[in-house]
Point group: C2
């Protein structure tokens, strides 16, 4: 008898989606193509020699920490370092408040696993990070859009939804590159408090600021408030997620969650069933990289490079795109957002762009509403300035031709 798999799949399979972006990226890897599509950090900036030296050291000097089974919540020394880093960034955390995960995709998956029932409502910025939608959808979540403008998410839109939580990417947002202003941050927190709403703050790019004044994270603002009221400062309402992917290397799949102990217990239980623990070698290497004090220079190197590239992209857009279109002016991170005139739809534009050896990501998949037909996300992070110039030139020509037609 043949096995009919279709009869055997779980219902939740219907809720799952693959990333349209990843499908695009698969096509957009032909040699010679100028791809502004991927959300990939610049591989030339990976500190390969340093990591090779460290790998050598941890494998020979503390092989058990790198190769044996480890604790589900993470390597103790790395949790201590992250608690210290977190505290230095204004979110006073103890090691018990840190759960190390196998990348932020897993952080979001574990949060979904412990918090979401089928049919639960989540508030998300619109547009928002596709990977988050994917993780939460697998648990049957429904989404309500929090509209954004160039100041960030609009606080009033948090009201009245009885949502399980609000997933926020307030700094150098993916996909728009927009940073929520300080005033908005305070208002968002105030609304959340009034509504007794929990916030999951995803902050993978925050330290990659190359321009302007650093803003406190939502978690930091919540911590300041807590301290003002005599608390320990660990935010109770904001779960903070960050990652080594954009500051060290995404292939290591290494992220962390800062959360109250009421949550870290369930998160660790969920992770035990999900993958037991995160790759130990990656944890040892990241820990040693921090211990040697190499992180600040590494981050600075990334900032410098991205700043130059962001500048190149802005200049090229000004030179080659039709006037009067909107584009974001990110002060950090990897992404720029473009809104073209309504008559230019970016999904059908993509294959034409690829014909001319240039790629971008159409913005529509990032929306949970029927919007964004004329938007696109561009990354400047992983492309040499000359190629940014050339890529934007080709794209501009294509858009102008389309508008002229």
């Amino acid at each position: 008898m043949q096995v009919n798999w279709n009869d055997r799949f779980a219902t939740r399979l219907e809720w799952m989606t693959t990333s349209a972006i990843r499908d695009i990226l698969k096509c957009a890897q032909t040699p010679g193509l100028i791809s502004m599509a991927g959300g990939w950090p610049e591989a030339e900036l990976f500190p390969t020699a340093q990591l090779a030296e460290i790998a050598q050291q941890v494998l020979t000097q503390s092989p058990r920490d790198s190769l044996q089974y480890g604790l589900t919540d993470g390597l103790t020394v790395l949790r201590e370092q992250l608690a210290k880093m977190s505290t230095a960034q204004g979110i006073p955390a103890q090691p018990e408040n840190i759960v190390i995960t196998s990348g932020t995709q897993q952080s979001l998956d574990l949060l979904g696993r412990i918090l979401l029932n089928e049919g639960d409502t989540l508030l998300v910025e619109n547009p928002t990070f596709l990977g988050a939608l994917q993780s939460f959808k697998a648990y049957g979540a429904r989404f309500r859009a929090v509209p954004m403008d160039d100041q960030g998410a609009i606080p009033e839109e948090l009201d009245g939804h009885d949502a399980k939580f609000y997933y926020a990417l307030p700094t150098f947002q993916n996909p728009t590159g927009v940073t929520t202003t300080l005033e908005r941050r305070k208002a968002l927190l105030e609304r959340a408090r009034e509504q007794n709403l929990v916030i999951v703050e995803d902050d993978p790019y925050g330290v990659l600021r190359f321009e302007g004044q650093p803003l406190p994270t939502l978690a930091q603002l919540a911590a300041e408030e807590d301290i003002a009221r005599g608390g320990s400062g660990l935010p109770q309402r904001v779960i903070y997620c960050s990652s080594f992917s954009k500051i060290l290397a995404p292939g290591l799949r290494l992220s962390w969650i800062v959360a109250p102990r009421e949550l870290t217990g369930p998160l660790v239980m969920a992770k035990q069933g999900a993958d037991l623990h995160t790759n130990a070698l990656a944890q040892s290497m990241a820990s040693e990289f921090i211990r040697r004090g190499w992180m600040p220079a590494q981050i600075e190197r990334i900032r410098e490079t991205y700043r130059v590239r962001r500048q190149a992209m802005l200049q090229a857009i000004e030179a080659y795109f039709p006037s009067g279109i909107y584009y974001s002016r990110p002060e950090g991170g990897l992404f720029m957002w473009v809104e073209l005139p309504g008559e230019v739809e970016t999904i059908p534009l993509l294959p034409k762009a690829v014909e001319q050896q240039v790629a971008f990501v159409p913005g529509k998949p990032f929306y949970i509403t029927d919007a964004g037909d004329s938007t696109m996300r561009l990354t400047f992070a992983s492309i040499q300035p000359e190629l940014i110039h050339e890529g934007i030139r080709r794209l501009g020509g294509l858009i102008k031709a389309h508008l002229g037609a």
Copy 2:
């Protein structure tokens, strides 16, 4: 307003459990303690110098493969190698049939994610691997026991349950060390075919045979049958899971699934939402370890060491345990199983053993039925023969004292 987390957790949190074993292991790490509790491979056998050399190479020569974002289904060259290995082991697979995972715990989690609805019945050996129960419970599975004897699971017990699948660990089982006989394997497959039942075969220890004749895996038997019927040989009814944890290093969190393409698509979609992809450095390193042809010698080294230790444990049990008790005589793997007389309950025995600086794992948590009060799992893998001798001597004294009292 305070956040009351208890009001916010998902229902599935009630189904989740932490591993009693891992809790025991946390306590059982005091220096000087002879721990026969953990299911840990011997750390002295980790090929640290070879891995350090390889890490250096892959990080400097192909940094993108090790550090950049990668494909969700896994590093292409490693999937090709695993397909080849799988084919050599009698399970003819193409790279498209391989999904690389972040450890077998994740393999089981992903299978649960795509296959299990709340309330689905699973057939499991009784006793069975705790981690599998943990993964499947999180999706609301219910378990039916397939009783075992020293020939393995009893095939007739598969009948009449309308189960989503049968989770089988037929070779050097965790926890019992028992290997299902060839006759039983054939009968299990025959029953599965008659019942249109799918089998998930978990085989982390299979290549670690140090005695006796290798037996075909369930997947291999299913493949032979398929070929006899003119098929390609990829088993349609048996999903095969294996791992680098026991042959290379568990800290790398690296396993794989061999499955029909109808399943690998959904598995990859599920993995995309779960952790995007498996640690790239670990994949590159494992691939290079295989490419250099180092795996056979590494496996041989482990086999030799475990054989000596298994022998030491058998001899010590014969010398120091009371006569007439049952213990398994594993031909491979890491574990030995002991059944004491009914009046000795092993859970209350454990703290007394720890007082005498020796630890084991009580067998009861491995059962899904109310059984196993007088059973224990011992590992010989990670302990020097002299210490095995001494540990079993202490344990035997304790048991004899208990029986005498």
